[in-house]
Amino acid sequence: MSISSSSGSGSFWAPFFLNNREVSGLAIIVIYLAIMTIFAFILYPYISKIYRDERTFMTPVTDRVYKYVSKVLGPIAGKDMKFKEYFVSLLSFSFFAGIVSFVLLYYQTFLPLIGGGQQFSPSLAVNTVVSFLTNTDIQHYSSPLQLSYFSQTFIFIGLLYIAPISGFAASMAFVRGILTDKGHLGNFFRDFTRGLVELFIPLTLLLTLILVLAGVPETVTHYLNARLPFSTNLMQIPLGPVASWDAIEQLGTNGGGFYSANLAFPLANPGWFTNLVLFTSETIIPFASLLAMGKVFENKKFGNLLFGVVMIIFVFVVLLTYFSEYSGIPSMQNIAGIFTGNMSGKETRFGISQSILLNVASTMTSTGAVNSALIDYTPTGMLGVLTGLLLNDPLGGIGTSVMNIFMFVIFTAFLVSLMVGKLPEIMGIKLGSKEIRYSTLTIITHPLIILVPFGVAILIPSIMSLFINSHAQNITTLLYEFGSAASNNGSEIGGFNFTAFFNYVDAATMLLGRFLIIGLELLIAQAFSVKKARGESSNAIQIGSVNFGMMMLFVIIFMGILSFFPILVLGPFFSFAKDFSLVMFP
């Protein structure tokens, strides 16, 4: 009220937004989505060049770096790899990094720069290394307190780069398989180097710079000692290379935070500007990769279609979560006279809209970073954040965004082709039973690796006794835990103790969710690699058409509903119905 009376002509909007918080929240959402879209459009021509194996301004640097890499690797560096070699290279490279990290992490107390580091239990070390290796970054440990500086710097920053870039390399091979007909998928090490030098190094440098300028610390100093006013206690604030960690955490859709509180911690994410920057940086590469597909396959409509389908899901989930959080639940509204939405567990510097945007973007991509406490979300708000996990991160992670969505493209093309009486094909490539079989396997693997551990865990009373909330809430939490692991997301609700059972089961789920699926996807690429994409003929299924897009959207959502509806009924729906006392037939 005071604002409206104090200023003159330009004063209409300020009080309007202040008095209509629902509208101002929506305005913020629109601004976020617009900025995300703009940056994705700026980046996608560059990414499409990398996918098409064209030279960029950074390619000379790649060439020089790769010369050194070749010396280390020997003849394999120049080889054109088929599926088996490519996948084995990817696996052995990842597992080599994994084993080294495991050893270093497990014995970190014997290594220099111990700082505050503590001994990891075997299960925790396995879980942590696997989760960082699979681009998941579930953090069952307490960061940074439990880590030595050595681990923090050498192991984790390394894995934060290796995981997304190997995913990106796999997607380069995948695209190459469709695009060319030479029978091979390219060279993993070359693709990896290219992704690192041409995509990640420039972008992370830029992002780190922006974050440092916005006030995120980037230092090697020890803990900062601070004394709060009116307190005699000395407070230790851990510092470190936070800005550069944030940058690769978000750009690489990793999501593992420098601090345990992740992006809710003020030093990792100081304000609205960094929040917007971090939000944009976690969505930019997946979205730009989808758009790039239009350019890569010379079918602009196709790129727009992928973008559109994912965007529809994205916007729907954002709105579901936003309105759920904004309206809260009846018992909350009764507490105070004035109600401004469910602020419980959310940072006041972000408010509802900016909190849910970052969280939804985190589960829509495979990032999993959070800036608010998910356990305090309303049941439907939690369902919104959970949707991304159950649909296997529709926007996807680095590289996996392209491959995962292609699985749905192939699957939909199969159904749609049959429905119009054509043999299935995409972009002029006939789909054999192999491609359809593998894409079906990929699509069903995701629900299976969630449902199986879920079903097992819920049957074991000693495990379920770790959960402290109501039955419905626990079901949601458990589903979230395995959903997060299976989709390599890493986001967590928390609310229970991470015992060895969870550490190991999560690790197995993450490995399957990552490498089994990438393996199947590369198998499809190999099957494609002997056939050449020739573009669509007028008589074929138009995979860029609105009808195809609708069908694909329908398939993606329906797949999620069919697989998880019964669990959701006893989980979020149950909590929701209880909160709102929905008793129709008492």
């Binding site: 159904l415 749609v416 079903g455 097992v456 009808n547 509806f565 009924v569 006392s581 129709m584």
Partner: protein, 663 residues
């Protein structure tokens, strides 16, 4: 009556697990049925409620599960029965007869089954042709009524193929046998029909994998539901969960999948087309371009000499005598027609002056035919061929040719003594109904390409009259092959019709090659379908059937999965009926849980029975563009599949309650 018994028998035999293993979905249904019987018998161990109404409910569930498998087997049995009756009718033709085998000492009478490939036989009037072969001498009318059902006798001339057990009506033929015993055309047809019911196409395999994958997911979903509800303190009723599982798995498409495949091959057979594989039928649905011959496909083919135009300075009678002379030994249809028309004009013609002339047969390379003696020629053929041969040019002849071409006729100039003596006009009418059929192809966005040996002007005229997209004029058989390769390079699926030996490479290269039964053995070998009626326009019907089979599968798959949503909304509220909070999910307001579950299962079971005719006949298919078809089918089978079960289950529920099922 026998037939019904047979179908019933196949249906019941189908319950044997060793017959079901090929169809995982039905096998799982049967296992579920056995499991539920087991659970009901030992109800205490499974903590099943066992009041009177529950007992009735359990019995109903077991019965409905039995019916689900029964109906699925029924669809299969009917389609099997159809193909068996086709085989039976084919087997009747395979009759033993005698043959006049030509040996070095003359002819001996042997049994037809002892004939081997490469033997020569003489077939006299009134005898049956003993084995598949090729005419090497003579011409005669043959009745093929027992194979094609066509009662009009077919004229067989030199080089035509004849089929074993067809009946010779006139004259005598010398035939070279082209197949060994057991490999005759009818033997092959029987094999094909039998095989097609067993062999699965890559598409069918992919679909089976997809369906099995989903079945696995649903198995997990239902198991998790069991675990989850016991966690929340609910004692889950096993039978409820079994019903949910059966309702979720794609029983509809799963049970009809095999029947659809067999039925499509049967449908082809009922069109008198023998497909060599189910795959060929599927390919047919995917055709982008079809290559058609002008003659015989688009036009009537039996071209008749209509008018004679003598060159200036040549009398009409003299010209007709030339025409007659050039064609007297010509066994092509054109030649025979010219002779006939000449006779019609002048009565019996004395051709003594040309008696010792040697006949030059028509060949695709020369493109002319006629007679010659030394340097003297009387030759008819294409204008260009004659011009090149004699190095002559005649503007007035060219004018006449153009004139004839522009009205759609074919001009055959005749040259004698080194100059043109006139032009024969051959009429070539469009086949009745061909325009409408080509129109349908247009609607399906299929490109039509016409190949003709005629000149540019005739080709253009005919193609614009018939509505053909592209034409290749002055084409030789090699050109046909080039057209196929060209289209294939544009990654199009190509279909073509052929009957000559020189069509064989193109037939083999095309995705769908339809050979005429009257064609040469080479053409028949290279093709993947054979038309017994020799009607090239059937290619269009074949495309229809191919599309129908794919659409039927796609539509039923989409329908099957779309149905699942409603079943969640019916069965889950019933399973969780003790949680009053969750009654908001009970959108259909089905207050009696047992009745609700039964209704869902009734729908799930009887939808199979309702869809059997559709699976056998194929879905209704209106030729239209791909995007229109997609829009329509998404609407009908996708959205329809979502909404229909809600309405149907509610109706079944109300009906069951009305007749007094009040558990």
């Amino acid at each position: 009556m026998n037939n019904y018994k047979e179908i019933l028998k196949t249906t019941l035999i189908g319950f044997r697990p060793d017959f079901l293993y090929r169809n995982p979905i039905l096998l799982i249904t049967e296992i579920s049925m056995v499991l539920s019987i087991f659970a009901i018998l030992f109800n205490a161990a499974f903590q099943l409620t066992f009041s009177i109404s529950y007992q009735e409910f359990y019995v109903a569930v077991v019965l409905l599960l039995f019916l689900t498998i029964f109906f699925a087997n029924l669809g299969y049995a009917i389609s099997e029965g159809q193909s068996r009756s086709i085989v039976d009718s084919l087997q009747k033709f395979r009759k033993e007869s005698t043959a006049n085998l030509i040996t070095s000492e003359g002819t001996t009478v042997v049994l037809s089954s002892t004939l081997k490939k490469g033997d020569f036989v003489i077939v006299n009037r009134g005898e049956d042709i003993p084995m598949d072969g090729e005419v090497v001498e003579g011409n005669a009318y043959v009745s093929e009524a027992n194979i094609s059902g066509e009662s009009r006798p077919v004229l067989k001339v030199l080089g035509d193929s004849v089929t074993g057990s067809t009946h010779l009506l006139t004259d005598t033929l010398k035939v070279r046998i082209t197949s060994d015993p057991g490999e005759t055309f009818i033997d092959k047809m029987i094999d094909l029909v039998k095989k097609s019911s067993r062999e699965r196409t890559p598409n069918e395999i992919a679909l089976t994998v997809l369906l099995s994958g989903f079945t696995l997911i649903f198995l997990m979903v239902v198991s998790v539901l069991y675990a989850e509800s016991s966690y929340t303190g609910l004692v889950p009723n096993l039978i409820f969960l079994i019903v949910l599982f059966i309702c979720l798995i794609p029983t509809t498409i799963g049970s009809l999948l095999t029947a659809i495949g067999i039925a499509s091959v049967n449908r082809m057979s009922s069109f008198n087309v023998m497909a060599k594989s189910g795959r060929a039928v599927e390919n047919a649905g995917d055709i982008d371009s079809i290559i058609l011959d002008k003659t015989g496909t688009i036009t009537m083919g039996d071209r008749e000499a209509k008018e004679f135009y003598p060159a200036s300075g040549i009398s009409a009678e003299k010209f007709i005598r030339y025409c007659y002379a050039s064609s007297i030994n010509d066994q092509t249809r054109e030649g025979m027609s010219i002779v006939k028309t000449c006779k019609g004009r002048l009565g019996d013609i004395d051709a003594q002056d040309f008696k010792d002339y040697e006949f030059i047969p028509f060949s695709a390379e020369n493109k002319y035919s006629g007679i010659t003696k030394g340097q003297d020629y009387v030759i008819k053929g294409s204008l260009r061929a004659l011009e090149n041969k004699f190095g002559i040019k005649d503007l007035s002849i060219e004018g006449i040719c153009k004139q004839i071409s522009s009205t759609g006729g074919t001009a055959i100039p005749v040259a004698a003594g080194g100059k043109f003596v006139g032009v024969i006009e051959m009429t070539d009418m469009l086949k009745p109904g061909i325009k409408e059929r080509l129109e349908l192809l247009h609607k399906m966005q299929i490109k039509t390409i016409m190949c003709t040996g005629d000149d540019e002007i005739t080709a253009k005229q005919i193609s614009s009259e018939a509505g053909i997209d592209e034409y290749v004029s002055n084409s030789s058989p090699e050109d046909k092959f080039n057209v196929v390769v060209n289209e294939k390079n544009k990654s199009r699926m190509v279909a073509m019709v052929g009957d000559g030996t020189n069509d064989a490479p193109a037939l083999a290269r095309a995705d769908v090659g339809l050979a005429m039964n009257s064609g040469t053995p080479a053409a028949k070998d290279a093709s993947n379908m054979i038309d017994l009626d020799n009607d090239p326009t059937k290619l269009i019907d074949i495309i229809f059937i191919g599309k129908q089979i794919l659409i039927t599968r796609g539509a039923l798959t989409t329908f099957s999965f779309a149905n699942d949503l409603s079943k969640y909304f019916v069965i889950l509220p019933a399973v969780f009926s003790s949680f009053s909070f969750l009654s908001f999910l009970n959108v259909l307001d089905l207050t009696n849980p047992l009745l609700a579950i039964t209704s869902a299962l009734v729908f799930n079971t009887f939808i199979i029975l309702v869809l059997i005719p559709m699976a056998l006949k194929g879905v209704k298919f209106k030729p239209s563009s791909v995007s229109e078809l997609l829009k329509r089918n998404i609407f009908v089978y996708g959205i329809g599949g979502l909404i229909l079960p809600f309405i149907a289950i509610k109706l079944i529920y109300v009906a069951l309650a009305f007749v007094g099922v009040g558990w």
